[in-house]
Amino acid sequence: MLEPKIPTGALKDKWTNHKFNEKLVNPANRRKYKIIVVGTGLAGASAAASLGEMGYHVESFCFQDSPRRAHSIAAQGGINAAKNYPNDGDDVRRLFYDTIKGGDFRSRESNVYRLAEVSNSIIDQCVAQGVPFAREYSGYLDNRSFGGAQVSRTFYARGQTGQQLLLGAYQALMKEVGRKNVVIHPRTEMLDLVVIDGVARGIIVRNLITGKIESHAADAVVLGTGGYGNVFYLSTNAKGSNVTAAWRAHKKGAFFANPCYTQIHPTCIPVHGDYQSKLTLMSESLRNDGRVWVPKKAKDPRPAHEIPEEERDYFLERKYPAFGNLVPRDIASRNAKEQCDAGRGVGDTGMAVYLDLKDSINSLGVEVIKERYGNLFDMYAKITGTDPYKTPMMIYPAVHYTMGGLWVDYNLMSNLPGLFVIGEANFSDHGANRLGASALMQGLADGYFVLPYTIANYLAQIKPDAKGILSRPEFKQAEGEVSEKIKKLLSIKGKTTVDEFHRKLGGLLWEKCGMARNEAGLKDALRQIPEIREQFWKDVCVLGSGEDFNQALERAGRVADFLEFGELMCLDALERRESCGGHFREEYQTPEGEALRRDDLFSYVAAWEFKGVGEAPVMHKEELKFEEVHLAQRSYK
């Protein structure tokens, strides 16, 4: 059984007491400790900046050409906080409860409560940094209700909240770079974790421009390397997003928790062709003012405007009168799939439903809609070539976020001492489903307000010796393994491109481990993935050399890891014989077709230990204990 190190005491006092009980590092000693932070998204950038300000020696790494490019930048809708500025009944407890419930009771109470607790400080911090949140004419901050919340607790900056929050964190980071407290290493990809005597002590990286392999040692390693949604090939993630850093840490001993929890986002632009390289999310804030519908008649050939009101099925409003179009993401996605599977889907492929803002345009006026969603409408028009002000948008679910990730305890430390994992890369706060506007909150909570405290407690108990440890043979050995793997990829010279393999894996996973899963399908996937992997290592074609900028080589390494990771994801989905949140097992549903949790059997976190490629991993369980909330069947009716 895994020990999550949850502090004792009442839920609301845990974090406060814990902070007091933790050891501190004297300001004069902090410079002696070196911390590596991998990833520069909301979690990584905010952590690196905060640790730099505190006086630690911080080195920050990202594979992008600048820290500002990290994929957090693409988050559109907003960030939650329990400020209760609208005076509509919100508070820390309610945000906590909504997050636990939204996660379908598969997250750790103490972590979620802490997240809700620090949410307000995030808004304060961002405003002070100059993040231009939306404001009312009074000059005060505006809030909106977002994806499944019955209070208006979401702060936003037009349709590009992620961009503005990330630029805030990036600017804080660059401030520390200017002051020489942080050194940044852009276009540098982490390819291995170095573990010495059971403790994480450094990383192996490849300079993506020169191809040079380098070792970096530290007193602690922090991974803020995002999610693994791109295992599906098509997702709303940036093309570069990958599981490599997390997966290589997993292969060095870090447990991977709940990999089957993936979030399929209901409002994305539908797939339009074989060449499709990624899917584009339309912020679900559109559901605030939009109504989702399909024609009542299957295979109705008429364009939307010719279908009269009485022949439209506003299926979310019909099935969930209390929440209507604002039901959580997993429910909205699954319902869209159901409609399309029943032949009522629209568009060329029949794999889409309408998201209609006509009523809101009529009642609020074009100008208001433009102000709220202008950039989303423009983006939709550019991609599809149709005007959403005139015809309803078409949407379909797409892989968007991954709740699973490396297992961490209450201190955000993995089972490997010295390895901390923050943001989407860890598994901690969203359970089996993440609520809208909570990813930004978690990334910044971890980086600004949690990790800086918990990492100090760890560092205070060790002696700094990043310089000395670099001469240990484990570094040279890991460098050698990384170089070998690169050489191998370049030497195969096969006939199939990296993308072809990636597409094949992604298609299989979407089919068997996507919005709905069943035992037969998962077993089939578990049979096929090793075959694709074997084929990959025989027939992949990577041209060019390892000594310069070689994007196919970068992708090949990432796809090789996805080919191992995908297997674990399916295995986890197979072993979790219940439905919860984003994990919907067809065998386990209520008579109304809703997810059926089995709390007596599966109220645990599944944390997997790596035993070798193709070997069965070992599952470790962390029992989820609920002291504060009463486990209930989610109902949004």
């Binding site: 100059g130 404001r135 550019k382 900028f549």
Partner: protein, 253 residues
């Protein structure tokens, strides 16, 4: 309606910053008009790979117009012919069957070429590190509602803050100037009450760093605004110049 078009692509190929480069021609057939420009390049690269020829290096990441990673000059226009659009959001329906497209990297002394269409924009990071921030440490912030900000100022800040740091403004400028990029950040932060304490050092340091990075100056060609995928207005350059002039005024207190 025609769904597929044929194109002749002349793409800049250059192995590294120190080696010479040249245009190579690729005849590309059956391009689906619903593809994005980068998806078209993906298809070209898949074909090249199959033929045993090294694919074209080009930077890209989010492919939804927000990360600022992608960009190339298409027929002389950064990010191509459609206004307010990044290369990843430029779709092939904007081109005609039989057209020839000349595709080259950003060309500016502040952006050395890495390979083919990929350039090094770390100069932008260094400019940001010189003053593109508000120096509030984590934990120092007062309660967010303490300072109301007039909606007009907040909107102006947001207009400027939309910059994605792609560098198209530099590529479009006859002087290779980064003044729209720098102006947008100065204007964003200097418009807000929180940005006031460092208003002067910010504009001085960022402009000084911009000069050190070999970017030129503004001579009001307005090409930057025309090329900007976020349509950031040159008015932000004027705001920056005003702040700069005030600091440099000999009677300034």
């Amino acid at each position: 309606m025609i769904k597929k078009i044929n194109l002749t692509l002349k793409i800049w190929r250059q192995k590294s910053n120190t080696s010479p480069g040249k245009f190579e021609t690729y005849l590309t057939q059956g391009v689906d008009i619903d593809m994005s420009f980068l998806e078209m390049l993906d298809v070209v690269n898949e074909k090249l790979t199959k033929e045993g020829r090294e694919p074209v290096a080009f930077d890209h990441d989010c492919r939804e117009g927000i990360c600022g990673t992608c960009g190339a000059v298409v027929n002389g226009q950064p990010h191509g012919p459609v206004r307010g659009t990044t290369l990843c959001q430029l779709h092939m329906r904007n081109f005609k069957d039989g057209e020839t497209l000349v595709i080259e990297p950003w060309r500016a002394s502040g952006f050395p070429i890495n390979k083919d269409l990929s350039v090094d924009r770390s100069s932008f990071d260094r400019i940001m590190a010189s003053g593109g921030f508000i120096s509030v440490k984590t934990g120092q912030a007062p309660e967010a509602a303490t300072t109301p900000i007039p909606k007009k100022a907040a909107e102006l800040a947001m207009d400027a803050a939309q910059c994605i740091g792609c560098g198209a403004c530099v590529a479009a400028c006859p002087n290779g100037s980064a003044m729209l990029f720098v102006g947008a950040k100065v204007s964003h932060l200097n418009a807000l009450p929180q940005g006031q304490p460092e208003k002067e050092s910010r504009v001085l340091n960022m402009i000084s760093q911009m000069d050190k990075e070999h970017f030129g100056n503004c001579s009001n060609a307005y090409e930057c605004e025309a090329a900007c995928p976020k349509e950031i207005s040159v008015v932000h350059i004027a705001h920056m110049n005003k702040d700069y002039r005030e600091v440099c005024n000999p009677f300034h207190q």
